[in-house]
Symmetry: C2
C-alpha cells in the first residue's frame, strides 16, 4: 500500500474520485448508524433481565434489618457497600452507595467544593479562579462539569501509562488554584489505556500547593475487561494514605455498564474521614438513595465474585466488536500513513487519531453518510482539539453487522479527508 | 375539669405528685416508642408490595419506545410524566420526573440558584445576603437547606388559611434580597392546614422586588387525604401564569408516601420555559433518573385515577391513627387550658401547641419515658421556637397500640410540664 504522502496529484485525484463515488452511494443509502456514545447493547442489557424479577413481594429487608421500602439509610445498604468495597479493595466505611448516576455524584462533589469548600476549607469559589487539570483526550462530561462551574481547564497530555506526570506534578505543586484533576485510571475514556503503577504512585505522592486539591478518580471501567487477564491498577486510596495524602482521592464507580445503564447503582469512595463529612452533608441534601434497587442488585449479583463472573459475559459480547474495529482499521488504513488508534483491552472506546486538521471533516463526512460519531473535539476541554485529530469510536452499542457498515464508512471518510488534505498541500 | 391556672398550690402539688408517680412507672417500663418523623407504617408499605414484582423480565420499553434499561431520557418516561401531570393538573412539558427524593430536587434547585442564578439572572450568592421567608411552624428540612447555604430565614406566622399574606406581600415587594419562600400548601407540615383559594391567589399576584424570586411550593401531601372529600388547592402554576408571574413557582411532589419511601419517584413542575432551562442543566449534572423504577410505578398505578384509588387505602390505615390522636388529646387535655392542636384532614402530622415555655420540657419528659418526639423547636427556623410551644406529632408509623401508649405518655408529659410551669408561677 502506497502512503498518501508519496502519491502524486494524479494518483490522489484518482483515489479521491473513487472515494467520492463511494460516498455518494453511502449517502443515498439512507443509513442511520450510531457510534456516538459508550452505550451497552441490547444483548448486554439482556444479561440482567432477571434482575427485573429477582425480588419477590416479601423480599425487602437488608442485612442490617433495614426495611428497604421505608425511609432511612443515607449511604446505602450493607450488601451493596460490601460488594463495592470488595470490588474496589476498600472497607465498607470508605464507601457511599448512591443512586443511578455516578456523574451526579461527581457533579455534586464539585458543586459542594465550589460553594462550601473541602472539609473545613474555604469555598473554592471564594479563593479566585479555580483550575482543574484535564488529561486529554478525556471524557467530555468531566469537562462539561468544569465548564458549568466556570473552572479553567488545563489540558495535560495523555500517554500510554496515563497523564504526563511531570507536568501534573509541576503544576499541582506550584499553583494553589489547581483544585482538581479528572482521571479515568482504568481503560481511560477514550484512549483505553491503564494507568501504570508508577503513574498511580506519583499521583499518591503529589505535594499539592493547595491543601484542598482533590483527585477525581472516575474508575468508570473498573470491572470492564475484554479478556480475563484483569489488568489491575494500584489502590489509590491505600497509596494516598501511605504517602500522607489520605483525603486527596475521591473515587467513583458505577454499575451503569454492569447492570442497567438506566437503573443502576453507583458509589463514591474515599477516606473514612471524608465519607463522614459527606454523609453529614447528604442528610441535608436527600432522604437517601433507592434502597430497593440496591437490594435488587445485591440479590442478583450476590457478591463481588458474582459481579466479575457477570462481567465475563459482557466481555464475550464486546470482544468481537472491538476485534472488528481493530481488523477493519488495519485492513483499510494500514500502510497509508494517515492514522493511528488504540487497541484497548477493556472499557468502551477506541481512540482514533487522524492526520492533523482532519477529525472534523471525517465526522462531517460520516454524518453525511448516515453514521453519527462523537463530535470531533469532544475529547478535549471546551470541545477544542488543538490539532483536530482525535475521534472517539464507540463500538459497543451497534449490532455487529451495523458496526461493520459504520466502520467501512468511517474508514472511507478517513481516506477521503486525508486525500483532500494531501491535495490541498499539493495545490498550495 | 378545672383549669390548671385556677388551681391553688396544694391542688397543683397533688396533681404533680400523681404525675411524677405515673412518670416513674413509665420510665421504668423501658418502652421505646417513636413519633419523630412522618414515616409510613409497615401496613402502608405493604399496600405496594406487588410493585416489587410488577415488571416481568421482558417489560422495559416505555410508551415512546425508550428502553428503560439503557441510557437516555433526562426528565422521565412519558407514562410517569403523564401521571404526575394529571395529578397536578398540568401538561407533561411542565413536569420533570426525578429519582427517589424530592428533597434532593429542592436542595439542587436552591444550590443552582445560589451558584448560577435563576435563568439568565445573577447568582443569588453574588447579590448579597440571600433571604427566604419561612412560614413557621414549618418543615425542618426546608430550613436545614437554607441554613446549609447561609440563607437568612425570616419566620412568617402560619394561620388557618396559610402564611400571613399581609407580611409576605409586604416583605416580598420591598426587599430584593428575599429570593424564596417555602410552602407546603396542602396539609401543611406540621399544621395540616390547606392554603385557601385567597392565599394561593395572593401568592400568584405577588409583585416581588426581586425578579429572581421563587416560590418553593412543596406539594408533599398533594394526594394524602384522610377522607375522600379531597379538599383542592388552586393551581399555582396556572394562576401565576394568569397574573403575569409564569416562572415564579417551583412545584415539588413525591410518591415517597404513595409507594415506597425508600424507592419512590418524585417530580418537579414549573412553567414550560423553566423546565427547558432545567433540562439543559440536568444534562450536565446526571445521566438521568432510574427509568425502570418509573416504569414500575407506571405499571403498578396505571394512571392518576389509580393513584387516587390507592391513596384511599392509605387513608383507611391512617384515619384511625389520627382519630386516636384527636380522641386522646380531647379526653386527656380538654378543659385544662394548657394546650391546643390541629385536627387535619390529611397529611402526616398534628401540630400541638403547649403553654409558652413548655415544649422542650414535654419532649424531654417523653424521652425519659421512652417516647421519641421531633425535637421541640424543629418546626421553626434554626430550631428556635421563640415561644417554645410547638411540637409536631407524627402518628403514622407506630401501630395503634403503640400509638395509644405514646399518646398517653405524651399527654401526661403535657400535664406535668404545665403544672411545673404553674407552680413556678405561684412560687415566683
Amino acid at each position: 500500500m502506497k502512503q498518501y504522502s508519496q502519491m502524486n496529484k494524479a494518483e490522489l485525484t484518482d483515489v479521491k474520485n473513487e472515494m467520492d463515488r463511494t460516498f455518494s452511494k453511502y449517502s443515498e443509502s439512507g443509513r442511520k448508524l450510531n457510534m456516538t456514545r459508550g452505550v451497552p447493547s441490547d444483548e448486554q442489557l439482556a444479561l440482567c433481565n432477571d434482575m427485573l424479577t429477582c425480588l419477590c413481594a416479601s423480599d425487602y429487608i437488608s442485612a442490617n434489618g433495614t426495611d428497604c421500602r421505608n425511609y432511612g439509610g443515607i449511604d446505602g445498604i450493607p450488601e451493596m457497600k460490601k460488594i463495592f468495597a470488595d470490588l474496589l479493595d476498600l472497607t465498607q466505611d470508605e464507601v457511599i452507595v448512591g443512586g443511578n448516576s455516578s456523574l451526579a455524584l461527581m457533579f455534586d462533589n464539585v458543586a459542594v467544593n465550589m460553594s462550601h469548600g473541602v472539609r473545613e476549607g474555604l469555598p473554592w469559589q471564594s479563593q479566585g479562579k479555580v483550575k482543574f487539570l484535564c488529561p486529554a483526550p478525556g471524557y467530555d462530561r468531566h469537562f462539561t462539569i468544569c465548564k458549568y462551574f466556570h473552572i479553567e481547564m488545563i489540558p495535560v497530555a495523555m500517554g500510554n501509562e496515563g497523564p504526563d506526570m511531570d507536568t501534573v506534578e509541576k503544576m499541582v505543586s506550584s499553583d494553589p488554584m489547581i483544585k482538581g484533576i479528572w482521571c479515568v485510571p482504568r481503560y481511560s475514556n477514550p484512549t483505553g489505556i491503564i494507568y501504570s503503577d508508577e503513574t498511580v504512585r506519583r499521583f499518591a505522592k503529589l505535594k499539592p500547593a493547595a491543601d484542598d486539591f482533590r483527585i477525581y478518580w472516575d474508575n468508570a471501567y473498573a470491572f470492564h475487561d475484554l479478556d480475563s487477564q484483569n489488568a489491575k491498577i494500584l489502590n489509590i486510596i491505600r497509596l494516598c494514605e501511605e504517602y500522607g495524602n489520605p483525603n486527596m482521592p475521591l473515587v467513583f464507580a458505577s454499575f451503569s455498564k454492569v447492570s442497567f445503564a438506566g437503573a443502576s447503582v453507583t458509589c463514591m469512595a474515599s477516606s473514612k474521614s471524608n465519607c463522614e463529612y459527606i454523609r453529614k452533608r447528604l442528610t441535608v441534601q436527600t432522604i437517601g438513595p433507592d434502597k430497593l434497587n440496591q437490594l435488587r442488585h445485591a440479590r442478583f449479583f450476590k457478591d463481588a465474585a458474582g459481579v466479575m463472573t457477570h462481567m465475563e459475559k459482557h466481555a464475550a459480547i464486546l470482544r468481537p466488536k472491538f476485534k472488528l474495529v481493530s481488523d477493519t482499521l488495519h485492513r483499510e488504513l494500514d500502510g497509508l500513513g494517515i492514522a493511528g488508534w488504540t487497541e484497548p483491552a477493556g472499557g468502551y472506546f477506541v481512540s482514533f487519531n487522524a492526520q492533523e486538521g482532519c477529525a472534523k471533516r471525517i465526522v462531517a463526512l460520516c454524518a453525511q453518510a448516515g453514521v453519527a460519531l462523537t463530535p470531533a473535539g469532544a475529547t478535549y476541554p471546551n470541545g477544542n482539539d488543538p490539532q483536530d485529530r482525535n475521534i472517539r469510536i464507540a463500538p459497543t452499542c451497534p449490532p455487529l453487522d451495523e458496526l461493520k457498515s459504520a466502520l467501512e464508512i468511517f474508514c472511507a471518510a478517513v481516506k477521503l479527508a486525508s486525500i483532500e488534505k494531501c491535495l490541498r498541500g499539493i495545490n498550495n
